[in-house]
């Protein structure tokens, strides 16, 4: 692995994160951290008619985890709760433009997706799979 993973889109979202902050009265709210490196992501989602009307993320960590959260939240406005629960890691990784993250950094990139899944499954009242981000 090298600085190849620091694609322009990642650096752009790292330097200027979109949707950063918190939402009062969010229907979906969750957070998690990566115990290995201390990355932390929280996501708040407001719904209107079961569709994402607003979304914010908060947290701290490496460029990969934070830009991934920024990019992910950008992709979700207008999606239904059902679509959130089915959102795949491939969709996110494709957007990140870094297919070759390697096992050490993939967890950073997928932390935001894991948080999204935790929140969505909680909202739906269904049991979280073992690897929700996969």
């Amino acid at each position: 692995m090298s600085d190849d993973i620091y694609k322009e889109i990642i650096l752009d979202h790292y330097r200027n994160p979109r949707n950063k902050g918190k939402l009062d009265g969010a229907e979906i709210s969750a957070q998690d951290n990566n115990p290995v490196c201390g990355d932390r992501i929280a996501i708040d989602i407001k719904l209107e008619d079961n569709v994402v009307s607003d979304i914010k993320f908060d947290g701290e960590g490496c460029a990969i985890s934070q830009s991934s959260a920024s990019i992910l939240t950008d992709m979700l406005v207008g999606k239904t709760v059902d679509e959130l629960s089915k959102f795949t890691k491939d969709e996110l990784l494709e957007e990140l433009g870094t297919p070759s993250l390697g096992p050490a950094r993939i967890k950073c990139a997928l932390l935001s997706l894991k948080v999204l899944k935790i929140g969505t499954y909680q909202y739906l009242g269904t049991e979280l799979p073992d690897d929700p981000e996969n």
């Binding site: 692995m1 600085d3 620091y6 790292y14 201390g38 960590g61 490496c62 460029a63 950094r105």
Partner: protein, 409 residues
Amino acid sequence: MGLSNFHDIKKDFPIFSRQINGRNLVYLDSAATTQKPTEVIDSITSYYKNCNSNIHRGIYSISIEATELYENARNTIAKFINANSPRELVFTRNATEAINLVSNAWISANLKEGDSIILTEMEHHSNLVPWQIIAKKLKLKINFIKIQPDGGLILDNLEDLFKDNAKFLSLTHVSNVLGTINPIKDIISKAHDYGITTLVDAAQSVPHMSVDVQNIDSDFFVFSGHKMLGPSGIGVLHAKKDILENMEPFLYGGDMISNVSLTESQWNDVPWKFEAGTPNIVGAIGLGKAVDYLNNLGMSNVHKHEQELYSYAIERFSDLKEFKIFGFENKNSTGGVISFSYSDFHPHDIASILDGESIAVRAGHHCAQPLMEKLGVPATTRASFYVYNDESDIDKLFDGLQKVRSVLT
């Protein structure tokens, strides 16, 4: 003797002839594990090629040879730490297993509800988690010696901790994050005045400086082979002989017995009663060779070499903007470790970009989460040095850090 005397040393380590992304490896993670010299690697293959057999039981030549190699390694390592006798040395898998041995075999038999164990806030998880578990099981209290911002221990309230029913004290000799050398001899001597039994986690000291267990006067003393040029999977528990003799075994099975009937058994002499089953024979032999190699260099030269590298690094990095070394103010350091923050760049990003330049550093909490909390950071980047590092490694790290800034800003 200065840096120049170690200059050709990379040739002794085959991994440095490997090219990674077209560049030579710059290995700065020796606090995690060290590279192995040819002598150590050859001793392993030579054992398997020439005298592979089980030890302590064989009547035939190769088994006698293997037993001799294994026990000679014990002698070499015992001398290296100035143990009173090689029979005070138990081979374990690593320092972690040695600590688990003590918590299972000694603490269980000697501490009771209401007693307390003293640890410090700078411990590696290996010298924290085993005590948490045994404390829960036996309803023991754990008290902590706190650390000050520069990474040194706060020792002025030691007696208060001792008086709180303390029966056992376990602390690290050298911090794996900051390189701080703790005044263990002084602490142990005071603990002994209160009848407290002591353990020293020496995983980060034995590889980097000369140690003398008789002078330190610890009751238990543990370290890992792979952090001192030896193979992984071999470690050492040193304990005073009367303590070992009065202790029940930790693991039971073959080789640790003197007599077995269907209903009961008697234990072998120390240290063998703590080495159940076929041990890591080749690991012990390899570690013995690693100690030979270190003895040839001279441990005072090793220590000096690391301090010279540290000074060179400090001077070089003083040009870097927003570069902060943790524990920098503490002068009592091995010099083998630099834990730093660099602007607001996350350690994982720093390590990834450095990896692109074939520079290996560690990023994370270094198995010391409570210490990270104390330093007020979730993680640091750590560059750690050993005998094979030189100024050019530091120069490359410096260039790499400049690249980090240009990529991330």
